[in-house]
């Protein structure tokens, strides 16, 4: 097993190098690199200031790709980029004038907290929901859960988020939740518990928006795999032994239904880091999604490139973890 893990980690490097090619190529092919651009909402800055800022950004971008007025060959650019990565330097943001590493480390925890919490909520709702739906297949519980999770899945986040802010975080209606940010302004005066409570209060709406759409997919998968295993021959054997139905379900059926659930976790983890651009924008949360959004609009080359690379690495790592989990759960999976 250990040798397998080591081999897998070594095999990740060629994949990662391939990914750097693709990321580099795709971003260099994108238009607008050497032109003035970037989004500045009119009114936020004066027209003149906006023009100056755009000019300034363009100069910085040009600085990245030219030396003494001549373009640096792409190969050299690529090697320089890889070299910096190896030395732990992801570059400096054009928009924020700060090291990308610092930016990511600031934003990542924010995104991780709300996404991990919503992932937990999705599992806490969808797994029992899916199991109940399998047990009472075709009956009221099954249909009610299936239809309601599908309805939730179909609601656009942008609508739900706006409605939540409009009705639940609005002094004119129900002013139950704050409409933006992650903290009250006076956190320094708070005790630890007050701080946690305040934080929870702030993230409630974003977390709801991130989770409600996820129930349907996972619950369908769980329902499907439980239903399949409930009618397998080994389940009948377990019943014939005299096991009570609860033990048949929790031991034999559940063990065999774990794999699809783990696959879905593996597919979800990379998404956690990207955060949700829409939710973070609606609730003004300074997370990874927001950073990506801002970087894209400012054509902030180093940030875009680094985030793509980090997501690629995390994706590979989570697939590795899924494979290891498979091995731990299913003895038939043998990599050696």
């Amino acid at each position: 097993m250990l040798s397998y893990i080591i081999r897998r980690i070594l095999l990740m490097f060629p994949t990662l190098i391939g990914m750097t090619f693709i990321i580099f190529a795709v971003i260099r092919m994108a238009p607008g690199l050497t032109t003035a651009g970037g989004s500045f909402a009119p009114g936020m800055l004066g027209a003149h200031q906006a023009q100056l800022a755009q000019q300034h950004f363009m100069e910085r971008r040009l600085h990245l790709v030219t030396r003494n007025g001549k373009p640096i060959p792409l190969v050299v650019q690529y090697v320089q980029w890889i070299n910096r990565i190896i030395h732990g330097d992801l570059g400096t943001s054009i928009k924020f004038s700060e090291p990308v590493t610092k930016l990511v480390l600031q934003r990542l925890p924010v995104t991780l907290v709300i996404n991990v919490i919503s992932l937990i909520i999705i599992y806490l709702v969808a797994v029992p929901g899916g199991v109940l739906a399998a047990i009472y297949r075709g009956r009221f519980v099954d249909r009610a859960f299936g239809i309601s999770s599908l309805v939730l899945y179909s609601l656009p986040v942008i609508w739900v988020g706006s409605m939540a802010i409009g009705f639940l975080a609005n002094p004119a209606y129900l002013n139950w939740f704050p409409s933006a940010g992650l903290h009250a302004t006076n956190t320094s005066h708070m005790s630890y518990f007050q701080y946690v409570f305040d934080y929870a209060w702030h993230i409630t709406l974003p977390v709801i928006c991130l989770s409600y759409g996820g129930f349907a997919y996972l619950a369908k998968q769980v329902r499907g795999s439980y239903l399949e295993n409930m009618f397998m021959d080994f389940t009948r054997t377990a019943k014939a032994k005299g096991l009570p139905p609860s033990a048949v379900l929790l031991r034999h059926v559940t063990q065999n239904s774990m794999l699809p659930m783990i696959t879905i976790v593996g597919m979800t983890v990379p998404g956690l880091l990207g955060g949700s651009v829409i939710v973070e924008k609606i609730f003004s949360i300074q997370g990874m999604g927001r950073l990506m959004y801002q970087a894209t609009y400012a054509r902030d080359l180093p940030v875009i490139q680094s985030m793509a690379l980090v997501s690629a690495a995390i994706t590979l790592a989570s697939y590795l973890l899924v494979d290891i989990a498979y091995h731990a759960i299913d003895p038939r999976v043998n990599y050696d």
């Binding site: 080994f234 005299g242 038939r332």
Partner: protein
Amino acid sequence: MPETPLLSVQNLQISFRGEDALVPAVDGVSFSIYPRQTLAIVGESGCGKSVTAMSILRLIPTPPGKIIAGEIIFNGQDLLKLPEKAMRRVRGGQIAMIFQEPMTSLNPVMTIGDQILEAIFLHQRLPARQAVKLAAESLRQVGIADPERRLGEYPHQISGGMKQRVMIAMALACHPQILIADEPTTALDVTIQAQILELLSTLKTKNNMSVLLITHDLGVVAENADVVAIMYAGRIVEFADVYELYANPLHPYTRGLLACVPRLSQTNQRLTTIPGMVPNARNWPTGCRFEPRCTDCKDEARTQCLSHLPILRQINERHWVATFSAPGYADAKFTLPGLPVRRNKTPATGRMGATD
């Protein structure tokens, strides 16, 4: 004093919910098994033999299945009326079952040892170490070498025949009084089949248990069964001890089945077949269900076959049959089929070819 049956099934009726109507699967089946006896239920696919077997342990998935009527008396109590909790003590404890598909009948992600121990702990109060010992012992009993090591292995690491041995070990770990074997050798190749049947018969004697053997292999029946019940379209059509049945088959369906068995002495011949198809349960004939395929009844007797369903009647001490064409059928009465007889080593022969 007459021997009392260990298990007796009386007028069992089971239906399955189809798309639009209830489809009968078992329609008034009765039989008894005596202690240390092997009763073989023979019939082709879909005749209701497996459903009958499953219903004894109440393992029929409900819905869609439903036991409409009948009694299954075991040790003086009706299993169909037993509360679920008491039924679970019977399942795997007093009556155990092995299945047709050894490949998929074991949980793939649990070790063999854990699966046997699960059964042991359910039915016996034993300290862990002793339970492990018993599990290893039951594996040794079914002829698995190095049982201590096998306990830690997973089902995918062993062969199909070995899996069926494990299933048998698991079933016998709690010393059941009856073992229901639902086509235990169908999925195995011929040499392994013989080994498994030999094993079953040895263990039956050793553990003093009865076996309800579901099969469609008349060769297997000739060598293993004490008493045979032939099923057709949800009903038992003939019931007799194994020697009587092979020597003197009375139902045209039984005779047809026996004629179908290939004979080693007759080469270069097409195998005999029974013409026609098993009638669909949605659409059973009003009269005798074998009538459309029957070559026995002629002329005026046929009108009776078309309008009346022949019930199973005892026509002599050793023989029950459900056909108007059997001699003495008209005067015979229905009695609960069951014979407290045990076979000897001689395989049953008669009109069947396999043992020629």
